[in-house]
């Protein structure tokens, strides 16, 4: 894993990919006929390959939506599973066109890594999971505990900040790979595991020997806005990724679903829906795409609500309520810029 990281770094050193110029990414993607998408190598609900090798998850569906808009087929995605350490170098060096890998938007990353975050696709916060039999019910009781954590994430810093701010002690046990860190926790090496709360839910559902033996503490100790990022210096591509995601949110807001998109395209009188689906206006052209871009996204992948429910919603093993990730009209934070 580290070797790949080095290879990627070496690629960046040698400038293999050549300079990024405006519009270069879109042209490259069209020529290749596929979007190259950097994803997590295994996080149930967000990005994981099933037994048939088909990738599923919220982050994965974002890539599919981009592919549906740009190369007209949601399945034309080349998946590049990346470790936490590799991800930014892979994007910087041109290894991937878009990084959709539960990545937190922070100032340092935005300002110093040569990348642009596009739109938040999942609002999250860091939390703690402990074995139920420890009898802990608040993060404030964790002083003196041993905490298993994966390196290469914002998690380590939040963890230290939280304990420092509350005057508590702890001992981190830091693993390079996600697999080792979770194995160590479920083996009982640490009393506490920490990562984003969505990750904890995913872990408890898919990895715990018995999910009931573990509790996720109520505190969210940080803000973790997760969303796809693109390379700096290609504004056209940046816009496309941004608006593809807005289109899925806008579609949910106006009730356009995978099931009724054809009917609405033929019959809807609503000018917003007409513009979204390319019946009127030249929205797609302005982005450098065709006018059916958003129609294909909804038809092939679905609107944001459908993507959410399918991957992490209450009916999935992950079982996360919409909460902050609900539409703004229902008290959540999902708010698409108007498509007009």
């Amino acid at each position: 894993m580290r070797l790949t990281g080095l290879a990627v770094a070496a690629a960046a050193l040698l400038g293999v990919s050549g300079p990024a110029m405006a519009g270069a990414t879109l042209d490259a993607v069209k020529e290749r006929g596929a979007v190259r998408c950097g994803v997590n190598s295994g996080l149930a609900g967000f990005s994981i390959a099933d037994s048939q090798g088909r990738w599923t998850g919220l982050d994965v569906d974002v890539c599919r939506a981009i592919a549906a808009a740009v190369v007209e087929d949601a399945e034309k995605v080349e998946w590049v599973p990346l470790s936490a350490q590799q991800r930014f170098t892979a994007l910087q060096s041109g290894e991937v066109d878009v990084l959709s890998r539960n990545t937190t938007w922070t100032l340092t990353r935005d300002a110093s890594l040569g990348l642009h975050f596009t739109v938040i696709t999942f609002y999250d916060g860091q939390g703690f999971m402990v074995p139920a039999n420890l009898g802990v019910d608040s993060a404030k009781d964790l002083s003196g505990a041993e905490v298993c954590v994966q390196s290469g994430t914002t998690t380590e810093l939040n963890l230290a900040d939280y304990f420092r701010a509350n005057g508590m002690e702890f001992k981190p046990v830091v693993f390079e790979s996600f697999e080792e860190s979770k194995t160590a926790f479920f083996n009982g090496r640490c009393q506490v595991y920490t990562t984003d709360r969505s990750g904890l839910a995913s872990l408890r559902a898919s990895d715990a020997p018995n999910p009931k033996d573990y509790v996720i503490l109520p505190e969210a100790i940080s803000k973790e806005p997760l969303g796809p990022a693109v390379r700096r210096g290609d504004d056209e591509w940046f816009s496309i990724v941004k608006w593809v995601i807005y289109a899925t949110i806008e579609a949910e807001e106006y009730g356009v679903t995978q099931a009724n998109v054809d009917e609405l395209k033929a019959n809807s009188e609503n000018p917003v829906v007409q513009r979204l689906l390319g019946v009127s206006g030249e929205m797609g052209k302005l982005l450098g795409l065709d006018n059916e871009w958003a129609y294909r996204v909804i038809k092939q992948v679905g609107n944001y609500g459908e993507i959410y429910d399918r991957n992490v919603g209450p009916d999935t093993p992950i079982g996360l309520d919409r909460g902050m990730n609900d539409l703004w009209t229902r008290g959540g934070l999902m708010y698409a810029m108007p498509i007009r």
Binding site: R2, Q92, S151, E180, R189
Partner: protein, 404 residues
């Protein structure tokens, strides 16, 4: 220069009649060699400049921060085990230092232990006792032929899998607890007496060495042997004890106490450290055993026979006659094993030990400065390896046979 033609059948012409013809520069081997090397160096330099400038240009163009200024910034993350005081408000530079010391800690201990086990096993392989020899071969073949990473996973899984959870820690001895969180044991707090005891220990070591030199001279002169080991140990142990008694014999035990989650107080060895040390030691000792065996076999059998004829006992033959001669064969390959062990310690990240690579990885991710962090790591490993080599080369020159 002499041509063969005219001299055939006649007498040899004097050689120095004509001054030697000047050889053109491109035919002069020395000049040609210098020119080739200059060209090679120039090409290398141009490549290096091209590489560095492209990198810098690419980084700038993409708005990626570069440079080593970040080393002075606050690191912000915690490190699980540290040999020097460290807190999240310290700088990245200090975090790197903590990682480096952890790497040196595990490598140095690993080198000492692997050498001891390696020598014992290497000698055991040559034993005339069938069982011992076969056991030693089985050990060597097993540990040499399983990838180190797998061995680390094995030891780590064995330690964290078999031991009880920390709340059910077993007391091996009173005050010593063993659990998935590692081995916790009491430490003696010396308080004010510490500096005196430390100085006394140093004095004891110096005295022991002085005694050994004296005993050797005495043996050369009179042929009488002195129990060097016994007296030396007595000096090294006795001096600090006397110093401790003189300074009022303060005795305070810092015993690990059970807290809500883990034990506090005392000292501890984490399972990560233990697994890494075990893995590195055992893996490398397999190779060292083979090196020792080949070294011993390289000493002619006649040497042993001659020593036997002089009436030396088996242990003395090995220690005084065979091993000193075997060392010149052993030391060079031993050096590369030491280097391997140090470099292999970077596999620590896989099992959660905070070595240099682990700390650098975290720093890399937080700052995003991959090129800088990776170059720091490479520079440090290079320095460590070159220092080890330099020391071992010095030692090698010292033990080399003086040829007559």
């Amino acid at each position: 220069m002499r041509s063969d033609g005219p001299s055939r059948g006649g007498f040899v012409q004097p050689a120095a009649v004509q001054p030697p013809r000047r050889v053109p520069l491109w035919r002069n081997p020395t000049a040609r060699a210098v020119a080739f090397q200059a060209v090679a160096i120039a090409v290398l330099l141009v490549l290096a400049v091209y590489l560095v400038s492209t990198t810098i240009a690419n980084l700038e163009q993409r708005g990626i921060r570069s440079g080593f200024d970040f080393l002075e910034n606050e690191a912000g993350f915690r490190i699980g085990e540290t040999l020097i005081p460290y807190s999240p408000s310290d700088s990245y530079a200090r975090a790197f230092l903590v990682g480096l010391l952890n790497t040196i800690h595990v490598s140095a201990l690993g080198i000492v232990l692997a050498t001891i086990i390696g020598i014992l096993v290497g000698i055991a392989r040559l034993s005339r006792n069938w069982l011992i020899a076969r056991l030693a071969s089985a050990f060597v073949e097993t540990v040499r032929n399983i990838p180190l990473l797998l061995q680390l996973f094995f030891w780590y899984a064995a330690i964290t899998g078999l031991l009880p959870a920390v709340r059910d820690a077993v007391a091996v001895l009173p005050g010593i607890y063993l659990s998935k969180s590692g081995l916790m044991f009491p430490v003696v707090k010396l308080g004010n007496a510490f500096p005196f005891v430390a100085i006394a220990l140093l004095l004891g070591i110096v005295a022991a060495f002085a005694f050994r030199t004296w005993a050797k001279r005495r043996q050369d002169r009179t042929g009488e042997r002195t129990p060097v080991l016994l007296v030396g140990t007595g000096l090294i142990v006795g001096f600090p004890i006397v110093a401790w008694l003189v300074s009022g014999a303060p005795l305070e035990l810092d015993v690990p106490e059970k807290g809500r989650f883990t034990y506090s107080g005392g000292s501890s060895v984490t399972p990560e450290f233990l697994a890494l040390l075990l893995g590195l030691t055992i893996y490398t000792s397999g190779f060292i055993a083979e090196i020792v065996r080949s070294g011993i076999l390289a000493v002619p059998w006649g040497q042993t026979e001659a020593a036997r004829a002089l009436g030396l006992r088996q242990g003395r033959i090995l220690r005084l006659v065979v091993l000193p001669q075997a060392l010149r064969v052993i030391v060079p390959p031993l050096t590369s094993q030491y280097l391997n062990l140090t470099k292999n310690s970077s596999l620590a990240v896989a099992i959660g030990y905070p070595d240099l690579v682990s700390v650098a990885n975290t720093s890399l991710n937080q700052t995003g400065q991959a090129i800088e962090c990776i170059s720091i790591m490479m520079a440090i490993y290079l320095t460590l390896s070159l220092s080890t080599s330099a020391f071992m080369n010095w030692y090698n020159r010292r033990v080399a046979l003086v040829e007559r």
